[in-house]
């Protein structure tokens, strides 16, 4: 290659490297003190700092197969699809420097630098975000099934988790009814529409002490004492202390069989406190959904005075058409919006056919919760439920300290290497040091270019590579010395030196690259970062020692034509 092109290549490489490393505006969304996201723009070198340097949250996710066994091959496929969803959720979380990677065949590793709220991150990735719309039952199916359920529980000899009297619950029921009836006209509206439900409601009001009776069941029945009639058809209240008992009953296969066919009994997202007791809502809904979140294209958090915090969603045309025709069939019914088997808010009455737009009411939840829900809805549902296998929360104080120490070690080791090279090789050592400067520039640029994450072991690898980078130079210089000792001219010695050193340089570096690749392939987080730094370092070292230093020599030979001696 003519000298002119050599120099051009080196200058071009330098320009590209400087461009890659030039401080630029990096916009990242970060969560401020008010728990809301803000766009923060800062001007800095675009090198990503790993978790260990910046601090943050580390999550490892696995397929949760506790509910049903998933074969290994399906698991790998599911992880691939889940990866996309998790990535878009995490990116939406507001951290531009987050890392979402597949690890092995059955794991997803999530690193969110700067976020010190592992609980929130955990909820965000664990929630499956499977959105369904189902019609709430208004045929009193559960009420009719209650005698059978009580009997089944008696026969099976199931015992409650704790003992609470039906009476206390019944009085509370009255209170709850009162609370709900004072609410709005909408409620009485719905009660009218519910028909039979109205009678039940008034019956309960008339005889509050025997509320259970109004449900046409023997008082004190094991199952019926757990639940209270809610304010709308298909709605029930369960005292929070009784939920473990209810869960125990529902887990029994005979009880499951006795539940109304074609219906699901699902917990709601709301709970209410009354007379010092907490109640959770439950809903009986058709188990066939009228629509899912599959066709959802957008979701936005909002707050309004009427419904409090809401998430407004939009469906695409296909989903909208289907939704319109399905809701058209169910005018006057209550539509439960179900997220991950939990009924969100109170099911609203379908006033008319609903098209592409709708909203999920979140009651008293904060806007941050609505933001997260909108985010997971936008990102789509997870194909399989995930479980968090590992959580690390890393303080940033460790990070800053480590960066400082790492940088100090890097500067000192560069200084030591420079001194050794200058003392031993003099002028040629100076050329090698020039190469070393370019080596550091190229390596850092390569790291920025690969979008590599700088970790603490990564910094250590970089420092170590500075020591190793001069190895190729040393090999070449020793060969040149040998050639000079044989009495060859300076120019021939340089040519021969580079030529003879080549096989050793190639073989030794290729074998190291192979080892580093194995590390990259099978390593995890920090080890991977280390491998990337190592590979980038070797590549840069090959370029500088073979190409750049050679060019320096050619330049020197041109300047001092007919040089008889070489300082090496």
């Amino acid at each position: 290659m003519p000298l002119k092109y050599r120099i051009l290549t080196i200058v071009a490489l330098c320009l590209v490297s400087v461009w890659a490393l030039f401080p630029r505006n990096v916009t990242s969304r970060e969560i401020g003190a008010d728990r809301l996201m803000h766009d923060v723009t800062s001007r800095r070198v675009p090198l990503r700092q790993g978790l260990d340097l910046k601090g943050g949250t580390y999550l490892a996710l696995e397929v949760n197969d506790s509910a049903q066994k998933i074969p290994a091959d399906k698991k790998a496929d599911a992880i691939d699809r889940a990866l996309k969803t998790v990535r878009s959720r995490i990116e939406g979380f507001g951290v531009s420097e987050s890392v979402v990677q597949k690890q092995g065949n059955d794991r997803i590793v999530v690193q969110i630098p700067g976020i010190q709220d592992p609980e929130r991150a955990r909820k965000l990735v664990e929630s499956q975000a499977f959105l369904q719309f189902k019609i709430a039952d208004k045929t009193q199916a559960l009420e009719r099934a209650l005698p059978r359920l009580d009997q089944v529980i008696k026969q099976r000899g199931l015992t409650p988790a704790n003992d609470t009297t039906a009476k206390a619950a019944a009085t509370a029921n009255k209170g709850l009814q009162g609370l709900l009836n004072t609410d709005t006209t909408k409620k009485s509206d719905s009660a009218k529409k519910a028909g039979a439900g109205v009678k039940k409601d008034s019956a309960a009001k008339k005889d509050s002490a025997a509320a259970a009776d109004s449900l046409k069941i023997q008082p004190g029945g094991a199952f019926s004492s757990l639940i209270e009639q809610g304010g709308m058809p298909g709605e029930f209240y369960v005292e929070t202390t009784k939920i473990p008992t209810l869960d125990r009953y529902l887990a029994d296969s005979a009880v499951k069989a006795a539940m109304p066919p074609g219906k699901d009994f699902l917990p709601g997202s709301d709970s209410a406190s009354l007379q010092g007791k907490w109640y959770r809502t439950y809903y009986l809904v058709d188990n066939k959904e009228i629509a899912t979140g599959e066709h959802l294209i957008n979701a936005q958090p909002n707050q309004n005075t009427l419904d409090g915090t809401v998430v407004e969603f939009t469906m695409d045309n296909i989903g909208g058409r289907r939704f319109r025709s399905e809701t058209g069939k169910h005018i006057g019914d209550y539509m439960a919006i179900i997220l991950d088997n939990r009924v969100m808010g109170r099911p609203p009455v379908i006033q008319g056919a609903i098209g592409t737009r709708g909203q999920i009411t979140m009651g008293g939840k904060s806007l941050a919760d609505a933001q997260d829900l909108a985010l997971v809805l936008r990102a789509g549902a997870l194909p399989v439920p995930l479980r968090v296998a590992e959580v690390h929360s890393i303080g940033p104080s460790l990070g800053q300290d480590s960066i400082d120490k790492g940088l100090r070690a890097a500067i000192i080791s560069v200084a030591l290497v420079v001194v050794i090279m200058l003392v031993y090789y003099r002028f040629s050592g100076m050329l090698a040091v020039g190469g070393l400067v370019l080596y550091m520039l190229y390596t850092l640029a390569a790291l920025a270019g690969f979008d590599a994450v700088l970790t603490l072991p990564g910094i250590a690898g970089f420092v170590l590579s500075i020591g190793m980078a001069v190895d190729a130079n040393v090999l070449i210089f020793e060969r040149i010395r040998e050639e000079l000792a044989r009495g060859k001219t300076v120019r021939t010695s340089i040519d021969e030196g580079f030529r003879h050193a080549m096989p050793a340089i190639v073989d030794s570096n290729v074998s190291t690259i192979l080892t580093a690749s194995v590390l990259y392939q099978f390593g995890t987080g920090p080890v991977k970062g280390f491998a990337v730094t190592l590979i980038a370092g070797i590549a840069a070292s090959l370029v500088t020692s073979i190409f750049v230093v050679r060019t320096f020599y050619l330049l020197w030979l041109n300047r001092s034509r007919g040089a008889q001696t070489l300082s090496i």
């Binding site: 260990d52 296998a389 250590a460 050793a504 590390l519």
Partner: protein, 339 residues
């Protein structure tokens, strides 16, 4: 112009001392393994695995003033983590507490709470004058541990195979086998070193061991490259003499490269802080074991293989010379322009 030369044109008979070297290194490995055995009897596991492997919780506390290890230990005991390991970490104001997993407790959920629990008790004991902050609270499930272990071992085994194949292609199978055995030797001596130093095996340490393997291999290949070249030039010389000559010829390079790497390693060891220290120790040791194994393990094994399965002219023409011829073709010098 005068050159600064060290160990130039030496004629040391390195191979002569192979018996002493073999005894020395076997002794070192046996001693290391014996220490591992003692550890295995005293504690549950032979090696000191980090929480990444065993599972559990790591809590790092930073104090305003040095609290004294016994105070920290007592607070940890009071919090109900009596089996925990308490260690000062770097400065006297930093403490690392490692809590082994409790049965039936989901470690992940409790990492932050156990950290704040311990910090809370310490705050009560020390008063407001000495503020405690939880710098880090990590939890790892033990299942993750076994997976990481298998991965590290798989990575090492695969790197063996890759090395063997690469050297068999570029040199000859004898060289590949010798280099791989030298690498195994390095892993054994590094393990012995780990046992003697009682270093904790973390992912970073695994990375360091793999770097040592790469570095030692590098060194072996530089010497083997000389052997390959000298074998072509001097067909009359015995392999033993060729080996000795090659080691002597590459000696200046070895000394200089080891010096620069050791300089970088020492800088890390002294200035890069506590987190990187185990990594630096292993690298520092790696420089020595790598140099040693290149001469006395790779070289000696190569001689032994030569003795057992001598090269025939055909195998030579197939192996070494072919690789060399290839090398020649590839590394033709670039035309020099004189403008």
């Amino acid at each position: 112009m005068a050159m600064l030369r060290i160990l130039h044109d030496t004629k040391y008979d390195f191979i002569k001392y192979w018996k002493a070297a073999a005894l020395g290194t076997i002794g070192f490995i046996v001693l290391g393994m014996a220490i591992l055995g003692i550890h295995a009897m005293r504690h549950q596991s032979a090696l000191n695995y980090s929480v990444e492997f065993t599972g559990g919780t790591v809590i790092q506390l930073t104090f305003k003033q040095p609290p004294g290890a016994d105070v920290v230990r007592a607070a940890v005991d009071q919090a109900g983590f009596s089996g925990a390991e308490v260690a000062q970490f770097g400065d006297p104001v930093n403490y690392m507490i490692k809590v082994q997993p409790k049965e039936g407790v989901m470690a992940a959920a409790n990492a932050d709470s156990s950290g704040s629990q311990i910090a809370h008790i310490l705050e009560q004991r020390l008063g407001s004058a000495n503020k405690v902050t939880v710098a880090r609270a990590e939890a790892v499930g033990p299942r993750v541990g076994s997976e990481l272990k298998t991965k590290a071992i798989t990575a090492i085994l695969i790197s063996f195979i890759v090395t063997l194949v690469y050297l068999a292609i570029r040199f000859e199978w004898r060289f590949g086998v010798a280099a791989t055995i030298a690498t195994m030797h390095d892993i054994l001596t590094t393990l012995a070193f780990l046992a003697m130093m009682r270093l904790e095996i973390s992912l970073t340490v695994v990375a360091a061991i793999l770097t040592v393997i790469g570095y030692s291999l590098n060194d072996t290949i530089i010497i083997f490259d000389r052997v390959r070249e000298n074998l072509r030039k001097q067909r009359k010389e015995s392999l033993r003499d060729v080996l000795n000559r090659s080691i002597n010829e590459t000696l200046p390079r070895s000394v200089l490269t080891h010096a620069t790497v050791l300089a970088a390693t020492l800088a890390l060891l002294m200035f890069a802080g506590e987190v990187i220290r185990p990594f630096s120790w292993i690298m520092a040791f790696g420089v020595f074991t790598g140099t040693f194994s290149s001469i006395y393990v790779a070289g000696a094994i190569l001689l032994w293989i030569e003795h057992k399965w001598p090269r025939t002219p055909e195998s030579e023409s197939k192996g070494t010379s072919r690789a060399l011829a290839e090398g020649r073709r590839r590394e033709r010098p670039a035309p020099v322009t004189t403008r």
